[in-house]
Symmetry: C2
Subunit: 380 residues, 2 copies
Amino acid sequence: MVQVNQTPASAPSIPSHSFDSEALRVFVVEVFLKLGCHATNAETAAEVLLASDLRGIESHGVARLAVYEKWLVNGLAPPNPEVEIVRETGSTATVDGGGGLGIMVAPVANRITLDKADKNGSSWVAVRNSNHFGIAGFYVSQAVQRDMVGWAMSNATAQVTPARSKDSLFGTNPFAVGIPAGKYPPFIADMATSVVAYGKIEIARRRQTKMPFGWALDQQGNPTDDPNEVGKSGRPYSMLPLGSDEEHGIHKGYCLAAMVDILSGVLGNAAWGPFCPHFMMPENSAQPPFGKGLGHLLGAMRIDAFDEVADFKQRMDLWVETVKQATPIDPELPVMIPGEPEFFAERQRRQHGIPLLQPVVELLQGVATRQQVEFPAPLS
Amino acid sequence: MVQVNQTPASAPSIPSHSFDSEALRVFVVEVFLKLGCHATNAETAAEVLLASDLRGIESHGVARLAVYEKWLVNGLAPPNPEVEIVRETGSTATVDGGGGLGIMVAPVANRITLDKADKNGSSWVAVRNSNHFGIAGFYVSQAVQRDMVGWAMSNATAQVTPARSKDSLFGTNPFAVGIPAGKYPPFIADMATSVVAYGKIEIARRRQTKMPFGWALDQQGNPTDDPNEVGKSGRPYSMLPLGSDEEHGIHKGYCLAAMVDILSGVLGNAAWGPFCPHFMMPENSAQPPFGKGLGHLLGAMRIDAFDEVADFKQRMDLWVETVKQATPIDPELPVMIPGEPEFFAERQRRQHGIPLLQPVVELLQGVATRQQVEFPAPLS
């Protein structure tokens, strides 16, 4: 996903330290082992979290380890979920995640998705009884590595309104698509269907700055630029779907958020809409009255089902070159291909380490202490 | 699609007349027969155009008949295209539309899509060498009628910029998804991936009113509210993708427009991006240097591949009820379900006729005269 840097130049900088990605991965694996996970599950979960940090999407990476710990320690999710196919055709399946963490369940479901596409040309797998699955981009990247187009979407804790209401009915409901290229990085679009992620509103609140109008509504349903008005009383947050208002296509963002909710939740009989369990505060979640856990929809299409892979990749490279040659409005901000910044972030971070903010380091040190696992020393 | 009425109350009203939908359909069939189409092709094309007018999406209906006439009269499209599968797997196909009109080619490709999903659970069909296929919602509605989720997308003449540039690289690239419900109308989201359709900018220009900032850029790449600045010199139009600017997620609309372009164009070897042929002014289109014609991607998933149809529909009805119960900000503007306004428009128009603006009536009378077909008398 193209990343927009919202940090004002004058913002006070928070100290950070860089960590070797392999050392961090081993640390995460050891934590999950201590929490009772088998090696395969621990390795899988660590791979998903590290993929996020490597791509520079820190919000969905190891910073969330303490939340996953909370789920497992409190017995809210089994350390080794039984993931099973409950219904299938040649090109589809409905998978029950056994109430497991999404970062353990969805990778298994994604393997089923890719194997089915391998045999039948394309596939869709609906996953229920799962949980937060990390970055959607991880799953579509796995499809891309097998010369497939990948799809991934998930519903989430309700924070976002439909058009015309201030009631939060939908999660930020991410939608991702991955498409392989030839000599260029793959096209990976991975986007929340809300205008911004909640993290952006939190940053504005912490910095005591205004946020732009069009991100959220206040408690009366009016547009607001005050981040303190949003989520004041916990839920509902009244964050706005992409498009922000009627004149700018809020009904389109609403369509996208709703589509992700229905296809992730209703289709495979997971929870949906306002009944989705609360990921960050599972202790506050009532059992949903219908459906089980969060839901995802994963899909894949083999490129060679449509054309020779080499020919397609050559065309994708031409497409990338054409788009990158578009004249930038600001010569210092060239047009980017979705997924390109993350591709180069990963290359850089594999070599020079993953920078973690001091509060995240402290959070992880807390996990290390509680789980009696050694926390790695920083590179710098 | 949820429709936003952008017409100011003070706008001068243009006279209109209502026509019986069946009489209009017969008229369109007769025009296509006179233009050399076989009965099947004429009936198919008429069905697609009328579906649009019945749903209240006049811009994509019979008002475009004169453009289709131009394509056929000038030999730019064959009256009876040879639509053939050039590659396939159990759940996928690449279809060559033989350079035909999209409203004849895409319905055939969609039948292939639905039949493949019927046999294999789900399917994707890439279509190349086609043209403007009317409303995307038509195709997904056909899937819904067979208890399937339907997907449809198409690339189009370049008018829309990527994030960070004023160069028009993408069409308004529509994306549609259709999902059946039980006792309620189906969920049909059908949206251009630009902030607005070009028609909205044209209306502002005709009415000599300002348009909102965030719809388009001027020729220097600055935000503008002057509709005369947009498309002044024909192409490029510099219309903006959904999200409008960096603070409001323009990179997400850009991701969607690009995704539709790649999957409709690059995947099946149709033209793509700025090389897409010009639909309204085909005489101005150079032969694209790569790819053939416009491209579409059509898809379907059988509901019963994932769960019992009756159970799913019951959940969808609960979903619809939950969303419709969201508190409206303005009590006179209740929350709508995508597809609902079009569903009720169709019911109303089947009974009371399709209103056509006087300039559209004159356009159709011109076609009638040229093709020596009788134009129906208005109902009122």
